[in-house]
């Protein structure tokens, strides 16, 4: 196995509130190899977006990284000072946010936002940066890029704006992209196009990607491996084929079963009973035990770590050997 581009070790993110400390992420470890696409799925509040925010070092107070490390090329980046981290953001790790309607500054032209990003990170003069900006707009499929570069964000549609956001995230040629639900806010008809674009650009540029989404279809189509999050922990992580076809964690299995099949009629959609516990009320033992159809006494007492389960790793006592 090649050396990982990004390594997250035992990451723990806490929020100090008046009612006590909430643990939003607990003991999350994962790696992303150069050029690899790691999908991340889970319910709302499972900690998917928090993982992304922790990697780019943009967790909003009162949240903070309480333990663990984030390493890029073996170098710790979670403890860098603001201006050092600034050189990592954009240049090494790009980010794409959920809602393209709010991620662009409404008062600046897209060209200006691209040029300022490019000149911040690359040794180009403004004229060269502008030329590069036009190339990027062409690459993300904006028609008549040379004219559109001086348009303001409100003059673009939602899908086009997300293309601009992708151009902004990639224009300093980072080696990793953290895409936080990049298609959730878009029309269904546009989603596929934007995902295809992201996938193509990532492959062309050899950019690795952490793709956070709750859309299993997007993951199955795009990711190499997938991490399933539940209540601030990774429930299962492994190659996307295996997770989809033969999940080893009961939660993953429930998640897959809840995707309605296209090829036959179903009278009732499968759903997992109950809902994910609130961060303030995570049960002892395995966090999934109240909802798990295969729960047994050990699940209530002890919390499982990620255990080898064939081709994937699952945090489930069913896979404890000996």
């Amino acid at each position: 196995m090649t050396a990982p581009l990004l390594e997250v070790r035992n990451l723990r993110v806490e929020f100090h509130t008046r009612r006590g400390t909430l643990t939003a992420l607990n003991d999350v470890s994962l790696t992303i190899a150069p050029g690899e696409v790691l999908g991340m799925v889970g319910e709302s509040g499972a900690g998917k977006s928090m993982t992304g925010a922790a990697i780019i070092g943009l967790i909003e107070p009162p949240g903070r990284i309480a333990a663990g490390q984030v390493l890029l090329d073996g170098r710790r980046i979670d403890n860098l000072r603001y201006d050092q981290m600034r050189q990592v953001r954009g240049r090494q790790i790009g980010a794409i946010f959920q809602d393209p309607l709010t991620t662009l500054n409404p008062l600046y032209t897209v060209g200006r936002q691209l040029v300022e990003t490019i000149t911040t990170h690359l040794p180009l003069n403004p004229a060269q940066a502008r030329k590069r900006a036009i190339e990027w707009l062409e690459m993300v499929g904006i028609p008549a890029a040379a004219q559109r570069i001086d348009s303001y964000p409100h003059e673009f549609s939602g899908g086009m704006r997300q293309r601009v956001v992708i151009a902004l995230a990639l224009c300093a040629e980072p080696r990793l992209i953290v895409a936080d639900e990049p298609t959730t806010a878009l029309d269904v008809s546009i989603q596929a196009q934007v995902i295809a674009l992201l996938k193509r650009l990532a492959r062309e540029k050899g950019t690795a990607m952490l793709l956070v989404t709750h859309d299993m279809g997007v993951i199955a189509e795009t990711a190499d491996r997938v991490a399933v999050m539940y209540a601030g922990r990774i429930a299962e992580i492994g190659p996307v084929r295996d997770i989809v076809k033969a999940p080893n964690h009961p939660y993953t299995a429930g998640l897959m079963a809840s995707i309605p099949p296209l090829d036959r009629r179903v009278d009732k959609l499968a759903a997992i009973e109950g809902s994910m516990p609130r961060l303030s009320a995570i049960p002892p033992g395995c966090a999934y035990n109240p909802r798990c159809p295969r729960v047994f006494d050990r699940c209530v007492r002890e919390r499982p770590d990620l255990l080898d389960a064939g081709t994937t790793r699952a945090a489930c006592w069913l896979h404890a050997h000996g």
């Binding site: 603001y82 990592v88 954009g90 662009l104 409404p106 008062l107 911040t120 409100h154």
Partner: protein, 310 residues
Amino acid sequence: MLAVSFISFAMFTYVGDPVAIMLGQDFTEAQRAALVAELGLDQPFFVQFLKFIGNAVQGEFGLSYRLSRPVAELIAERAPATLELALCAAVIAMAVGVPMGVYTGLYRHSILSRFFLTFSLIGVSLPTFLIGILLILIFAVALGWLPSFGRGDVVRLGWWTTGFLTVSGLKALILPAITLGVFQLTLIMRLVRAEMMEVLRTDYIKFARARGLSNRAINFGHALKNTLVPVITIAGLQLGAIIAFAIVTETVFQWPGMGLLFIQSVGAADVPVMAAYLMLIALVFVTINLIVDLLYYAVDPRLRIGKGAH
């Protein structure tokens, strides 16, 4: 404008009796009737009003009852003093208020921010005349650095008289300008602070950080520019208010501007001057609002229509 003119005219037609003041203690009924006829006060209210409007449109506001000089001339004589004072106060308010607002918005918990906020609370709650009197007490009476009243020496440039060109004129300007500006300053500071805190939470600021832009570019470029629209609105309205409410400051400092003229006219029930003053203030407000709307257009591209497709 028309509404203001009507209200001001109506109000002053029924307050006080200028005739009694002009004639003094002893007068006969015949003298009174003659003067009333001369001033046109015997005509019905609407006739008086229409005449007033007709003249006002031509810049003709009649004679001051008190000084027996054309009102337009009086106002033109006093306007430069008020406008210079208002301009200085506005510049102080903006030049100090905006940076203080940005600072307190960025570093919410620093000691300096807390100090600024306390200061602004004082600035908002102390009445203007008290600030003026306190400043006079400290800088004019106790320290003797600055004059406590008047405008100092002025230089005449055509019909405009300016205090900017002489040392005594500038010195005389400092205290009243600060007095007038403090309230606006604290208001602008609090507004900028609130807007900054709002804008810094938005996705595009987060995204700008995720792109690795410098703090400077984010705070003073992306963030500050987005706070400008509401700040311009308030600052514009406040500039109007500065000119209008210079009355108090001008009274405290005996500043020979329009506000002082107005106060003196009120004392003498000098209707033409009061009406003209109110009309002028209304004109100032309307003009400033127009300028503010035009500035929106310059700042916010979303308001420019008819360009590009959506």
